[in-house]
C-alpha cells in the first residue's frame, strides 16, 4: 500500500513541481476535491483555482490556470496551462489586471465579456493564492 502520493505538475513550459506529498486538494470543475494515497483512478478537469498540497506539517499552494488532473493510487498528475507557486506570483501585476478587467467590464458592450470575466477570475485567484502564502 502506498503511503505517499507523488504530485507532478506539468505545463507546456516544463515540470513545475515533482514531489512526494501526503495530500492534495484541488479545484475541480465540479467542486473542490481532496486526494489521499490509494485513491481510485480518477480524471477530472480543473478550473482556474488553487491547488494545495500537504506534506507532514508543511503545506504549499499553487495557482493553476485551467488544466486537468489524473489521479492514480500513488500519483497525482496535473496538466495545466500555467501553474505558479504562491510565493512566485506577481501580486502587483495581478492587481493591475483586476483593475483593467473591471474597467473593461464597465464598458461591457464594446468588448468580449467572456474574455474579460475570465481575465478577472484569473487575477482575483492569483491574489487569493498569494495571500495564502503570506498568512501562513
Amino acid at each position: 500500500m502506498a503511503e505517499k502520493l507523488t504530485l507532478d505538475i506539468v505545463t507546456p513550459y516544463g515540470h513545475v513541481f515533482t514531489e512526494e506529498v501526503d495530500e492534495v486538494i484541488a479545484a475541480g470543475n465540479e467542486g473542490e476535491f481532496g486526494v489521499l494515497p490509494n485513491h481510485i483512478s480518477y480524471l477530472t478537469t480543473l478550473k482556474v483555482g488553487m491547488l494545495t498540497y500537504k506534506k507532514g506539517s508543511e503545506s504549499g499552494h499553487f495557482f493553476v490556470n485551467w488544466g486537468y488532473a489524473e489521479v492514480g493510487p500513488e500519483k497525482v498528475t496535473i496538466l495545466a496551462d500555467s501553474a505558479e507557486k504562491s510565493d512566485e506570483i506577481d501580486v502587483t501585476r495581478a492587481q493591475e489586471a483586476i483593475k483593467r478587467a473591471e474597467e473593461r467590464l464597465k464598458q461591457a458592450e464594446t468588448i468580449d465579456e467572456a474574455r474579460a470575466t475570465a481575465a478577472l477570475d484569473r487575477a482575483i485567484m492569483r491574489v487569493q493564492v498569494s495571500e495564502q502564502h503570506h498568512t501562513r
Partner: protein, 289 residues
C-alpha cells in the same frame, strides 16, 4: 592583373564578412540552445496529454467531431517556416515539400486550403499568387502559448464548420543539429489510438468528472494546440540549427578565401620586388658599361 591594392581591399572585405558570419553563428547557437530547452520542457506535457487521451478516446468512437473521419474533400495544410533567411535550405525544402503535397492532393481531386507560419512562406506563396487562408508571422524566438491558442482556435473552428476535412502540418522536425527532417503530420481528426490491453484496463477503472464526453470536449482541442506548439518549437529549433550550420560553412569558406587571397597577395608582392631588383641591377650594369 590585380594590383596589390585591389587584392588588399578584397582581403579586408572578406575578413569583415567573416566577422559577421561568425557572430551570426554564435547568436544562432545561443538561440538553438534556448529553443532546444523549450522543446525538451514541452515533451513531458505532450506525452502525458497523449497518454491520457488514448485511454479516453480508446473506449468509445465518434464521441467528438475531432475523432470522426470524414470523407476527404478539402484538406488544410499549415506550413511552418521562419521569418528570416540565411538558414540554407531550411525554407526551400519546406516549400518544395508543400508544393509536392498540394500537387498530390490536386491529383486526387482534393481541394487544398493553405495556412502559413513565417514570413518566408507568406512571401513565397504571395509571389506565386497562391491563395492563403491565414498567415501568422513574427512568432520566432518569442513564441508563447497564447499564440498557439490563436492558431489552434482558428484551425479548429475551420474544421468544425466542415470547411476542411483534414488538417496537416508541414514542418522541419529537429533530429540533430546537422539533421532536420521534413515532417508531415495529421493533427485533425485524431487517428483512433492503437488498442492495447493495458489502455483498456485503465480506461475501464477511471472515474470521469464531469462525463467522459465533456472531458473529451475540452481535451481534444487542447491536444491540437499542443501538437501545433510542439511542431512550432521543433521548427524553431531546426531553423536555428540550420542557420548555425550555414554560418559555420560561410565562416569556413571565408577562411579559405582569405588564405588563397593572401597567397595571391604575397606572390604579387614578390613579383613586384623582383621586378624592382631587376631594374636596379640593370641600371647598375648600364652605369658600369
Amino acid at each position: 592583373m590585380a594590383t596589390l591594392k585591389d587584392i588588399n581591399r578584397r582581403i579586408t572585405a572578406v575578413k569583415s564578412t567573416k566577422q559577421i558570419t561568425k557572430a551570426m553563428k554564435m547568436v544562432a547557437a545561443a538561440k538553438l540552445k534556448r529553443a532546444q530547452n523549450r522543446m525538451i520542457e514541452m515533451r513531458p506535457y505532450a506525452d502525458k496529454m497523449s497518454a491520457v487521451l488514448s485511454s479516453l478516446a480508446g473506449s468509445g468512437e465518434e464521441l467528438h467531431p475531432l475523432l470522426v473521419q470524414r470523407p476527404r474533400q478539402t484538406v488544410e495544410i499549415l506550413v511552418m517556416t521562419s521569418d528570416r533567411g540565411l538558414c540554407s535550405a531550411f525554407n526551400t525544402n519546406i516549400m518544395k515539400a508543400t508544393e509536392k503535397i498540394i500537387a498530390e492532393k490536386k491529383a486526387e481531386n482534393i481541394n487544398v486550403s493553405l495556412s502559413v507560419v513565417g514570413k518566408k512562406a507568406r512571401d513565397y506563396f504571395k509571389r506565386r499568387n497562391v491563395e492563403m487562408r491565414n498567415a501568422w508571422i513574427d512568432l520566432s524566438g518569442k513564441l508563447v502559448y497564447s499564440d498557439v491558442q490563436t492558431i489552434g482556435k482558428d484551425l479548429i473552428d475551420h474544421y468544425n464548420e466542415e470547411a476542411v476535412d483534414e488538417v496537416y502540418v508541414v514542418y522541419n522536425k529537429f533530429v540533430t543539429v546537422m539533421n532536420q527532417k521534413i515532417t508531415v503530420s495529421k493533427i485533425m481528426p485524431m487517428d483512433p489510438p492503437e488498442e492495447s490491453e493495458e489502455a483498456d484496463e485503465s480506461s475501464m477503472s477511471f472515474i470521469y468528472e464531469p462525463s467522459q464526453q465533456e472531458i473529451l470536449n475540452e481535451l481534444l482541442p487542447k491536444n491540437v494546440e499542443v501538437q501545433i506548439f510542439r511542431a512550432l518549437l521543433e521548427s524553431q529549433a531546426s531553423e536555428e540549427a540550420a542557420r548555425m550550420t550555414a554560418m559555420e560553412n560561410a565562416t569556413q569558406a571565408a577562411d579559405e578565401m582569405i588564405s588563397s587571397l593572401t597567397l595571391q597577395y604575397n606572390k604579387a608582392r614578390q613579383a613586384s620586388i623582383t621586378a624592382e631588383l631587376m631594374d636596379i641591377v640593370g641600371g647598375v650594369e648600364a652605369l658600369k658599361g
